[in-house]
Symmetry: C2
């Protein structure tokens, strides 16, 4: 195994870059802007230039670099995406183009899947080979790890766990076009939606410190921790949806561990306790004690996972 590799995490605003030792140590991390003009045609050349610059700056010979792992926001299959909306990309052969630009082996994956791999490597699921990692952010994403490898799926939709139908009473469409998706009730925006519903439903006996003008997942969890009853209703409803869905996912791959990340996971143990309560009620007997834990790598999960992808695939 060569000494170094790169882990790249492409977002719609910035590209996060990491230089790793293939033994696992993060040596350097930095960001560049994602230039999405002209169909995002500069994104991969900018990444190639950033890598060349870093190698020069550190005096690293390309012959000592195993390769580049890269996570992108789109359904990656065999190194290509048919599209990546946030990057303004149409069909793009990521591995082909970035490989040609850098002369290095490249392995591409979906960003949420890659972040899951990062959490397995050095984060919340460290030491495990079978994990379900769920990211509770603006949306709900995830990655499924079976026997140490990402499940990409036949259409690049492995781990798209935000789009199970869980709520018949939600009639507004999800970003995916369906209605009643987990994402609509378990993302940060989903929690705000549930909070609005609870506030609308309050009667004269209810008291709350939730401010209808400043609702956020954070404010809901903050008030919940202080004992606010309306916030508790919101958290219980959220946790019921998510815990039940996790029970359904667990009977598919029966993971060793379930990891919750993303902005909502900043609520910490209060989140874990609430979700675990519903998970344990509905999970299959053999899976009831599967630990549910917090992600550890935060915004670095993507670069860690991309680096791991490169290490596993390129060697």
């Amino acid at each position: 195994m060569k000494t170094y590799c790169f882990g790249i995490d492409v977002g719609g605003t910035t590209v996060k870059c990491g230089l790793f030792e293939t033994a696992g140590k993060l040596c350097d991390k930095w960001e560049i802007k994602t230039r999405i003009g002209n169909g995002g045609e500069q994104v991969l050349p900018d990444i190639a230039a950033a890598i060349e610059k870093k190698l020069k700056e550190r005096g690293i010979d390309k012959a000592d670099v195993a390769g580049i792992g890269i996570g992108v926001p789109g359904p990656v299959r065999e190194g290509k995406v048919p599209f990546a909306v946030n990057l303004h990309w149409g069909e793009t052969d990521i591995e082909g183009v970035l490989g040609q630009l850098t002369g290095l082996p490249v392995k591409a994956g979906n960003d949420a899947n890659v972040a899951a791999l990062g959490e397995m490597w050095q984060g919340g699921a460290e030491g495990h080979k079978d994990a379900i990692v769920i990211t509770l952010g603006t949306g709900v994403g995830g990655g499924i790890i079976v026997d140490g490898r990402i499940v990409e799926g036949a259409h690049g939709a492995g781990g798209e766990v935000g789009h199970a139908h869980v709520a018949d009473d939600i009639k507004e469409p999800c970003n995916c076009g369906n209605t009643g998706c987990l994402e609509q009730v378990a993302s940060a925006t989903g929690i705000v939606r549930l909070a609005r519903e609870e506030l609308d439903r309050m009667d004269a006996n209810d008291q709350t410190n939730l401010n209808p003008e400043k609702l956020s997942a954070k404010s809901v969890f903050d008030e919940y921790k202080k004992g606010d009853e309306v916030a508790a209703r919101v958290v219980n409803r959220f946790a019921s949806y998510l815990g039940t869905a996790l029970g359904a996912y667990a009977v598919v791959t029966d993971p060793e561990i379930i990891v919750l990340g993303g902005g909502v996971s900043k609520a910490g143990e209060a989140l874990i306790d609430a979700v675990s309560r519903y998970y344990r009620a509905y999970a299959f007997a053999a899976c009831k004690n599967t630990p549910i834990v917090l992600a550890k790598l935060g915004n670095d999960a993507g670069i860690y996972g991309s680096a791991k992808l490169a290490i596993d695939s390129i060697g």
Copy 2:
């Protein structure tokens, strides 16, 4: 690769046995009784004797046998089960014991998982490497295939898809101890449960040919096919539960194909059409066109899958 292998499917009443060419052809199949007396201690010796007898009868040299695959009704992990209720077994090292008795390499798996592998090899999912196979029988079981291999899971519960919580209104406990499991509304007995509920709910305007004394999944589907409205309500409710659950499972592993087997699948295309309707409504965009098809191997799925398990693992 040696010429022959055995595929063994252990049930609570009979053991199904198959002699296969490792190239895939089923040469011979037969059954022996499952003797579950004395903690099921005769089950593995009886299988060993049946194999020895078959080799002698056919004049096959043991040196030409790659090995034995065996499916058992229990949570198999690394060749062992902690228990197998229907066989009266406590902790049993299946691969160790049967290997010692026969002098052949043995690979063991859970019976539902192994049947799924059989359907992938020569059944409804033939030609695919990523599949979800669901068995709708007295219970609801299944097997998840990712990249051509069974997902066993951390506790042997991979593919226990009958035990996702899907129905809040069912208060009676499932065999697993939880309430509202998919198995309670999508198995043959689950369909009878839903039919009873619909019959209880009928008012003076409703007419049905369903006979409350002779309810079965078959009678419900038979009347449904003839246009019976009450039977249609039952089928729609069943299909709604199952189709929605399949949508949730599909965002976990994103299979190439979904296969429905077990006794309920004798309803044929009427089953596929009803379930597909709800699946397509709620499945994630990328997975909406994933084919849902009927299983093909019937009761032989287990011996096919066990043989395939032996071939893949022993080589």
